[in-house]
């Protein structure tokens, strides 16, 4: 064996290729251009779906809270205060003063 064998043998491919494969491969590759594939960014879709779902959930919880647990009317508070004894009122006011003291001093 000599260098000529090296040049000849290497260029001959021992592999088999199915008949008509190259025509089919060219047609497939050309079809890629016809389909006009857009650049896909799956991570961007994931983030968008996640943020939208979170916003929708917050909105639903807020609306449910408003309709299922409405704030009691003002009259209820006024009746409750009117029914309190003098001592309870004094204690409630003292609590407020005490809390304010803690807050600001």
């Amino acid at each position: 064996m000599n260098n000529e064998d090296f040049n000849l043998a290497g260029k001959r491919m021992p592999y088999a290729v199915p008949d008509g494969y190259f025509e089919q491969a060219v047609a497939c590759a050309e079809a890629i251009g016809e389909r006009k594939i857009k650049r896909q960014r799956p991570w961007l879709w994931g983030i968008s779906i996640g943020v939208s779902s979170a916003l929708a959930a917050v909105l639903v919880i807020f609306i449910c809270n408003m309709y299922l647990f409405p704030a009691p009317p003002m009259e209820q508070y006024q009746n409750f205060i009117a029914q309190m004894s003098e001592d309870d009122l004094a204690n409630a006011c003292a609590d407020v003063e005490y809390m304010e003291e803690n807050l600001y001093y």
């Binding site: 260098n3 090296f6 290497g10 592999y15 088999a16 199915p18 494969y21 251009g33």
Partner: protein, 182 residues
């Protein structure tokens, strides 16, 4: 292959598709064999070649460069896709890509259309057994007849390193074939 004509067609949106189709017709066979020599199995080559054309199509509008570098760019995508495919075949991600050579040699026996004793089969077996750095340079230089400068654009290695790798690849194949240097 008239790369200048292809480039001028690709530059105009109205003729882009025509340029792309011409590119496909000109390079499908060459890229197929370049990938097949690395992956051995026809089905794997078919899948990788399809991925290559998708990448080429998506990146062609952003590609800058002359007709000369177009060929190198195509081979770069083909080689990168082939290496990524081989990486998936490794038993663990810590293995070297050269550890896949044993699997490739086993596949080769099933894939060849001639006797394993014939010269071209022995040549390919010697090529498959090479480390991938040498194998890629040998493929691009010996089969695809690219210049060292073009191979340097593809692999990112210096021309001197490529020449050394090519020399070792040739010596290794000759040793396995029993060819003595004259």
């Amino acid at each position: 292959m008239d790369n200048n004509k292809i480039i001028s067609l690709l530059q105009q949106p109205s003729t882009f598709k025509e340029g792309y189709d011409m590119l496909v017709k000109s390079y499908t066979s060459a890229l197929y064999w370049n990938i097949r020599r690395l992956l051995v199995v026809h089905e794997d080559t078919q899948d990788v070649l399809q991925n290559v054309w998708v990448k080429v199509y998506l990146n062609l509008p952003d590609r800058k460069g002359n007709a000369e570098s177009l060929k190198a760019w195509l081979y770069k995508i083909a080689n990168n896709e082939s290496i990524n495919w081989l990486k998936k075949k490794r038993a663990s991600r810590w293995d070297s890509i050269d550890d896949v050579n044993e699997q490739l040699l086993a596949s080769f026996t099933e894939e060849i259309a001639c006797s394993e004793e014939e010269m071209e089969a022995r040549f390919q077996k010697a090529l498959i057994a090479l480390p991938h750095k040498q194998k890629i340079v040998f493929n691009l230089r010996y089969y695809d007849e690219l210049s060292y400068q073009q191979i340097s654009e593809i692999t990112g290695q210096s021309v001197n390193t490529l020449k050394t790798n090519y020399h070792y690849a040739v010596e290794s194949i000759k040793n396995k074939l029993g060819i003595k240097n004259e």
